[in-house]
């Protein structure tokens, strides 16, 4: 269906006795952080990476390498790649829906990567019925299949005319929020403090379009390199003043007062919401134009 894109996976969706052909397409890629080259400080040259035996220190060629599992310090069980492959169940190319769960019940902390899920030429009717049924019942579907040489669970949910399938992290890869936060003190905030904080939030309410966000790191790093080359001293990070418990109420009152004063000025608060982004774009100049144009086209999409 999706002309011009390469499917990551093709197979079937099955729920009850219904089954039809579908394809998965990558919906999001990950762009890299700024990578540095590793340099030998002593010579100023770049370094290369080689693989050596930890004991003999001799080079180990690719075909001489195998995999091992460390059972205790320095003792390994050798496991050949074929043996690993043998543990992967044979793929039946079918995303079998095991359960439907209420959308409000989904724990998003398990989310891994999103894929666009589309019907093949013959599957349109069943696809549309599944999509609209799920929409009306306000549920997401949990399905499993072999994806990328691993048994994966995906969460499927309606999105516009299509479906989005998100691969889920495994149970042992996710720490529950309950556990992570269990040692935190139980504090419940009420009264004036809560009212003031809600008031502050009220003055900062708006909408946010992630597609329009711009990363300022690269420009800041280039600036830092320039300063270093010119022998200028690098700015010291500002000391952050932490609010003391005794001053908390005063800080909240003062914040609320300041924000109220700002809001009383001519209607500028709505524009403030995106002011940060606007300023950045102006200072970054032409270098960011390509990025801005790109995000503009995305904005339409979302």
């Amino acid at each position: 269906m999706a002309a011009g894109h390469r499917a990551q996976w093709k197979g079937f969706i099955k729920f009850g006795e219904v089954s039809f052909g579908v394809a998965l397409y990558t919906a999001a890629s990950t762009s890299d952080r700024i990578t540095f080259n590793t340099i030998n400080k002593a010579s100023g040259n770049r370094v290369n990476r080689v693989f050596i035996d930890s004991e003999t220190e001799e080079l180990v060629a690719k075909e001489q390498q195998t995999k091992g599992f460390e059972i205790e310090n320095g003792q390994y069980i050798v496991i050949d790649p074929e043996e690993v492959a043998a543990t992967i169940p044979e793929s039946n190319k079918t995303l079998e829906i095991e359960a439907f769960i209420p959308c409000s019940d989904v724990d998003d902390v398990y989310f891994d990567k999103p894929y666009y899920l589309t019907p093949d030429k013959m599957g349109g009717e069943g696809f549309a019925a599944l999509r609209d049924g799920m929409k009306k019942s306000k549920v997401a579907a949990i399905a499993r299949t072999i994806l990328f040489r691993r048994m994966r669970t995906v969460l499927i949910r309606p999105h516009g005319r299509g479906l989005i399938a998100t691969t889920m992290n495994y149970d042992y890869e996710v720490r529950s929020s309950k556990k992570a936060f269990e040692e935190m003190p139980r504090i419940k905030v009420e009264g004036e403090m809560l009212d003031l904080a809600k008031h502050i939030i009220g003055t900062k309410k708006g909408t946010f379009d992630p597609a329009a966000f711009e990363d300022r790191y690269e420009a800041a790093l280039a600036e830092l390199v320039k300063a270093k080359l010119e022998g200028r001293s690098l700015p010291k990070p500002k000391k952050v003043a932490v609010s003391k418990p005794n001053d908390l109420l005063a800080a909240l009152r003062q914040s609320a007062g300041l924000l109220k004063a700002a809001a009383d000025k001519p209607k500028r608060t709505a524009a403030n919401a995106n002011a940060g982004a606007g300023r950045q774009r102006a200072t970054r100049g032409s270098a960011s134009n390509a990025g801005a144009a790109k995000s503009a086209s995305h904005r339409k999409a979302s």
Binding site: K41, S54, K67, Q75, F111, M134, H159, L194, V242
Partner: protein, 269 residues
């Protein structure tokens, strides 16, 4: 709290600031991982840096990060240099804006982290920000430098803490038009109620059991079997945990081993 934090800094709402620490919600540490071995010697294979010109090994203390200024021309940057990058978002999560809960498309959610106070001095300030977001049913929007990029982040109050999501960049999310435009907009109205009936029958509550990993289980089994086949001399050298049949035997083995080790140690000394 004896855990290692991934990031430490400050959470700020207007004039209220508190020290916070953050840890990723996901981790690969429990995953079965393999090391590369030399097939011939059985030893670990490790990577080593060699100078690209002289071919000689490079000592750890001579390794440095280089920012490419031109071909074969690098400006060396220390970690302290990098910390001095002139962005407040390196150390401070300043909540600039609040948006309705559920208003951020799931497709933009990239990686979840748990955010919590890092010093008792900030406990109450943290709780104020968290509870006010909860009461108003909003998410906080901010930005933060993580992994040498400045990321848009959203903050969601949850339990006693806050979940901080990094968001994908606009150019990382592919526009959906090219994928969904040919799909029927309306489903056959006779089919939808049938699907809803099926949904009802197959409804369940979310459970982490739904994301178990049978391949990992199979790998662990394979490892356990291979461990049993190890030569006895080797097996007894190791921890006695390899024999799952009975704990009594394990303890016996462990005790014997301990006694032997004691004796050897005495002889050597």
């Amino acid at each position: 709290m004896a855990q290692k934090y991934y990031w430490k800094g400050y959470l700020k709402l207007s004039l209220v600031t508190c020290p916070v620490a953050m840890t990723p919600a996901t981790s690969e540490s429990e995953k079965v991982r393999f090391h590369t071995l030399n097939r011939e010697t059985g030893n670990r294979v490790v990577s080593q840096y060699v100078d690209s010109v002289t071919g000689k090994p490079v000592k750890d203390e001579h390794e440095a990060k280089g920012y490419a200024r031109g071909e074969n021309d690098y400006v060396i940057l220390t970690d302290d240099d990098l910390d001095a990058v002139a962005l407040d978002t390196v150390k401070t999560i300043d909540i600039e804006k609040f948006v309705p809960a559920n208003s951020i498309e799931w497709i933009y959610l990239e990686k979840p982290h748990y955010l919590m106070p890092n010093d008792a001095v900030g406990n109450e300030a943290f709780a104020v920000i968290r509870d006010a977001m909860k009461a108003d049913k909003v998410l906080g929007v901010s930005k933060l430098v993580i992994g040498r990029r400045e990321r848009a982040v959203v903050l969601e109050p949850r339990d006693q803490g806050i979940v901080l999501w990094t968001l994908r960049f606009g150019d990382e999310v592919r526009p959906e038009e090219g994928y969904f435009e040919d799909i029927d907009e309306e489903a056959d109205p006779d089919l939808v109620p049938l699907v809803q009936q099926l949904i009802k029958k197959k409804s369940a509550k979310w459970s982490p059991d739904m994301v178990s990993d049978p391949v990992q289980e199979a790998l662990l089994k394979l490892i356990a079997e291979k461990k049993k086949l190890l030569k006895p001399s080797k097996a007894t050298r190791g921890k006695a945990a390899s024999a799952p049949a009975s704990n009594v035997v394990n303890i016996m083995d462990a005790l014997r081993k301990s006694v032997n080790a004691e004796l050897k140690g005495r002889k050597a000394g």
